[in-house]
């Protein structure tokens, strides 16, 4: 009998890009709001960003159904943590939880490319970047999704973050102030939407700092 080929795939790619930048006392997380499938746009107003804890925000691109399932899993585990420890989870703790949650589905992965941003226990900005099965590292900035190959080289050029592996240790967070980082994010998405068909419509920008979490939007090309 000839080898059977699957005529149905459990996965789909809804496109989109996400970016996160860590600063000395803030963290900027942004994602576009376009959700597509193939050449069709499903909606122009879909949020890829999810608040996981008081100082911890996640943006994910890829297959949004898996993203939604992942967000629900993390929210539930966070609730249990709050009941058991009587406090919110810190960003580094959430980062490891996300890594383990992704790896538990190692043989049937969440098709979700995540970027986690927030403030660590000392109030400094931190960004964690992931692959689909949970390998993660703390970085100064990161981009995931369909526009990441366009966005990352530009961020490399502008932010020049020294590697955290260098000895003597150098700080990975960017010296930019919050307003400059937000401006950079807007520029980066404007460029990405010029050349990536899956990125566009609107950017949702979330800023986490000592005063709390705030959200703003910017219009992008709708074509």
């Amino acid at each position: 009998m000839a080898k059977q080929q699957a005529n149905w795939s459990p996965y789909d790619n809804n496109g989109g890009s996400c970016v996160a930048i860590a600063g000395a006392d803030y963290c900027v997380i942004a994602a576009d709001t376009r959700m597509s499938t193939g050449y069709n746009i499903l909606t122009r107003e879909y949020s890829k960003i999810c608040k996981l804890a008081d100082k911890c925000v996640m943006a994910s691109s890829g297959f949004q159904a898996d993203v939604k399932a992942l967000q629900k899993q993390l929210a539930a585990r966070h609730l249990i943590y709050q009941h058991q420890h009587n406090k919110q989870m810190s960003c580094p703790a959430m980062a490891q939880l996300l890594s383990n949650t992704l790896y538990y589905k190692r043989f049937f992965p969440y098709y979700s490319f995540n970027v986690l941003g927030g403030l660590d226990n000392e109030g400094k900005g931190c960004v964690f970047t992931y692959d689909a099965v949970g390998s993660y590292e703390k970085v100064g900035y990161s981009s995931q999704g369909s526009g990441s190959t366009l966005i990352t080289p530009f961020l490399d050029n502008q932010l020049k973050s020294p590697s955290p592996l260098l000895l003597p240790v150098q700080d990975a967070v960017t010296p930019l102030v919050e307003a400059e980082a937000i401006d950079l994010v807007k520029t980066v998405f404007a460029s990405a939407s010029e050349r990536d068909i899956y990125t566009g419509d609107k950017i949702e920008i979330v800023v986490v700092n000592a005063t709390g979490i705030r959200r703003e939007y910017m219009e992008l090309r709708k074509d």
């Binding site: 992704l102 790896y103 589905k105 043989f107 689909a132 949970g134 970085v139």
Partner: protein, 272 residues
């Protein structure tokens, strides 16, 4: 086939009180497996989608003073460099290191799991686990997942009661004891430099320089290796990170640019 699922047991409820909250999540620890007729084909596609980071250079060797461990820091997905700052030397505990080659998530997760198992051993037996024991624990887990698509090529280096220890463990289930290993796409280049310069009685400084040079030469010739060359030393008091140097800068340290005498100088042509 009974899979070793001890890595998946979620944390026991903190106060042992009614655990209805947690029970719903940790019924029987198991990996979810897709319901398909062709498991291998599905895994092949899933792996393609995930494209684990391959391409790397890691090395470790035993010498008179202990164990030297070094690695590059580049992660590539096909031809795209996904990161230049991956931590490929994983700190399992203060006296044992593991290196990462193959799937980044696989290595990170199972090394963290190994660290947990080592700590449990310490608590149960009131003594540290040996490098032999730790490497065997990891090798047994990887063997039980043989054929499922894990990609792990790691070296476990440490110092225990018998002195320095070094084992190579991979996801095919192989486990080898040895004095010198290099793993990854850049390993042939690293072996060339390492085997040539190796002597058992080197000082820590000489051994570190040998390790650094080997990684540098591998990153020079192998496109899938690069970033930062990290060098760690494992001695009787545990491991210590000795250096982390950008390989681009190392190049100019080893081969400085000499100002050369100018033969002919170009002169600007006067406006036509």
């Amino acid at each position: 086939m009974k899979l070793d699922t001890s890595g998946l047991e979620s944390a026991a409820p903190v106060w042992g009180a009614p655990s209805e909250l947690v029970d719903g999540f940790s019924a029987a620890p198991s990996f979810e497996v897709p319901n398909t007729t062709d498991f291998d084909g599905f895994q092949k596609e899933a792996i393609q989608m995930v494209k684990p980071a391959k391409g790397t250079t890691t090395l470790a060797f035993i010498f008179k003073e202990g164990v030297m461990v070094a690695a590059d820091s580049r992660a590539s997905m096909g031809g795209y460099i996904s990161s230049q700052s991956v931590k490929k030397i994983i700190e399992i505990n203060p006296y044992m290191l593991g290196t990462m080659a193959g799937g980044a998530a696989d290595c990170q997760f199972w090394h963290r799991n190994l660290g947990i198992k080592c700590r449990l051993h310490e608590l149960a037996n009131k003594r540290r686990i040996s490098v032999t024991g730790a490497s065997k624990l990891l090798a047994n887990i990887l063997y039980s997942y043989r054929g499922m698509g894990l990609s792990v090529g790691t070296m476990i280096a440490g110092w225990d009661e018998t002195g320095p220890g070094l084992y190579y463990v991979d996801s095919e289930g192989g486990r080898l004891k040895g004095m010198r290993f290099s793993v990854g796409s850049g390993s042939p280049y690293a072996y060339g430099v390492l085997d040539n310069g190796y002597r058992y009685d080197m000082s820590v400084k000489e051994a570190a320089e040998l390790a650094r040079r080997s990684i540098y030469h591998a990153t020079f010739r192998d496109g899938a290796s690069g970033g930062v060359a990290s060098v760690y030393y494992v001695g009787p008091n545990g491991w210590k990170k000795l250096s982390g140097d950008d390989v681009g800068e190392l190049h100019y340290n080893y081969y400085p640019v000499m100002p050369s005498t100018v033969e002919q100088e170009m002169v600007e042509v006067a406006g036509a």
